[in-house]
Symmetry: C2
Subunit: 322 residues, 2 copies
């Protein structure tokens, strides 16, 4: 996205400049490696935009933005262990390239690094910033635990699923934006609106992710289409399909879960989700959260032109290729 390119470039540069000691190399080499793997850097961009919305410079919000990105990378290192993921951004994960103990410990250190960056902010902002960061960090862990618990549960409700994605991924977007608002001395009310904007955009984005995983154009999608279906992962599509399905369709879905020809499994599941109406209902939910988000943005007591970058970002996030 053209408009955000200068922010990405600025952050990429600053992320590369994060300094780690040489020794113990088994602790710090994995962190240099992992942070260099890149990513959209969406979360720290949100902090910079949040600060600018209230007239504060992006430079003054930088250390908080970096703390959010560093925290996000810490969660990825630990999540990759828990998910036994061999790859991240097409490169080896830390526990694969080194070992699991090193991934646990270097993750822990990266988490502290997040606090070290955050504590560089002005003393008068420390209490609200750290309280927000703490609350969010705990929620992200709760979301990850719920996600793991869901694997062995057969009675996950739509509400529980939405709560899981809210905690696991969306609260961090809200937090990233609100940190910017704190640094920009926004009112409590505006802070809350900006947080809600981020959180609801996050939920909409995550629902879109579930849809894209199955319905994306394989030529334009960065990863394998149908991955969630192959692994029988619980997604919003899947949960809605099971609720809406007739007994016969349920039988079919049940059969498909053990289908070993993956292309057949994907194609038939996809067709069934369309017929059942699961795709349509998920798209509606996505639009609902997007619209709640935009209303929160409207509520903020700032002129429309200042909100333009955030609106553009929300549009960008919601218009990935289907």
């Amino acid at each position: 996205m053209q408009q955000l390119a200068p922010y990405s470039a600025y952050l990429e540069n600053e992320i590369n400049a994060i300094d780690f000691p040489k020794d113990p190399s088994n602790l710090y080499d994995p962190l240099r490696y992992f942070l260099s793997l890149g990513g959209k850097r969406m979360r720290p961009i949100l902090t910079l935009l949040g600060a600018e919305l209230f007239g504060e410079s992006k430079e003054n919000a930088l250390s908080a933005a970096l703390s959010v990105e560093v925290f996000h990378n810490f969660t990825l290192i630990h999540d990759d262990i828990m998910d036994e993921a061999p790859l991240r951004r097409n490169r080896e994960t830390v526990h694969t390239k080194w070992n699991q103990n090193i991934a646990i410990l270097s993750g822990d250190v990266l988490f502290v690094k997040g606090y070290q960056l955050l504590v560089k902010q002005k003393p008068e902002h420390l209490q609200p910033l750290i309280e927000l960061f703490n609350k969010t960090a705990i929620e992200v862990c709760e979301g990850q635990q719920m996600d793991m618990d869901f694997e062995s549960r057969k009675d996950v409700s739509i509400d529980e699923y939405i709560e899981m994605i809210r905690l696991k991924t969306s609260v961090l977007l809200g937090c990233a934006l609100e940190m910017g608002a704190v640094i920009g001395n926004a009112s409590e009310t505006d802070r809350k609106h900006l947080y809600d904007f981020g959180q609801n955009i996050g939920i909409a984005f995550q629902i879109q992710d579930d849809i894209l995983d199955l319905f994306a154009d394989p030529d334009k999608f960065g990863k394998q289409v149908g991955g969630d279906v192959i692994s029988n992962k619980k997604t919003l599509l899947n949960l809605h399909a099971l609720i809406l399905a007739t007994d016969e369709q349920k039988q079919l879905l049940w059969k498909l879960s053990t289908e070993t020809d993956y292309q057949v499994k994907i194609d038939k599941t996809k067709a069934l989700y369309e017929i059942i109406g699961a795709r349509a209902i998920c798209e509606n939910e996505m639009k609902k959260y997007h619209s709640i988000a935009m209303k929160s943005l409207e509520e903020i007591q700032i002129g429309d032109s200042a909100k333009q970058p955030l609106k553009a970002l929300a549009e960008f996030l919601m218009n990935r290729e289907l």
Copy 2:
């Protein structure tokens, strides 16, 4: 130790009162369980004593004291995974009682809880407290990494070993005390002296631990005597013995490392360490760090009577049964 009993009781009570949500129970049950396993609560006592030394009430230092104890327990949960330890204080470790993923994630949450407790301190103390906490947390991880690296190394020097125990265990004692000093508005110089006192007592204590592991009276020692020898662990005794040994003694030690009759292994190693002089040199090192610690305590610009509890604590720590 009689004099510290009221502090222990006060802290035990407050640790039991730390509140965790009910759900997700797989995240929070392990924390309720682990914190209830007890322990000497030595680190939070240090924070309370540090504050009282400078005339501040223990109540005002409480949340910082709890943050140190909570942090310590977080490191134990993660260390137990890395060390594949089945038991902690004769009870199952978290990764044994639940599973490894739960131990990683609930450990992460406990770490955040430490920051949540610390941020309850007065706003004007937040920056120094959190900076000290961050620095210490990183050092503890570095110490753990060094310890793991040592397992596969044959050239560990005495200096490296001391640096490892300083980072892994001693800096947290210094941090616990200095936090109390920050809360008690001590001067920078006094803060530094109190930190040094804690750090050097910690090193002396850890050296004593190495000695006790082999030379303690089995009837009075809480755990199996000779555990380090059985597992061929690098300890200060072992490193000094290898430096001081004649070629013949080195051969003997080498042979003993593969001895399968553990009682023979322990008895012969013990006798050899005495003859070589490894025990004596370790006891001297222990006394050296103890004496450096006591000098730092002397330097603090506070009347002698106020220092009495800390002196008593140092005596207590250094006079475990040999």
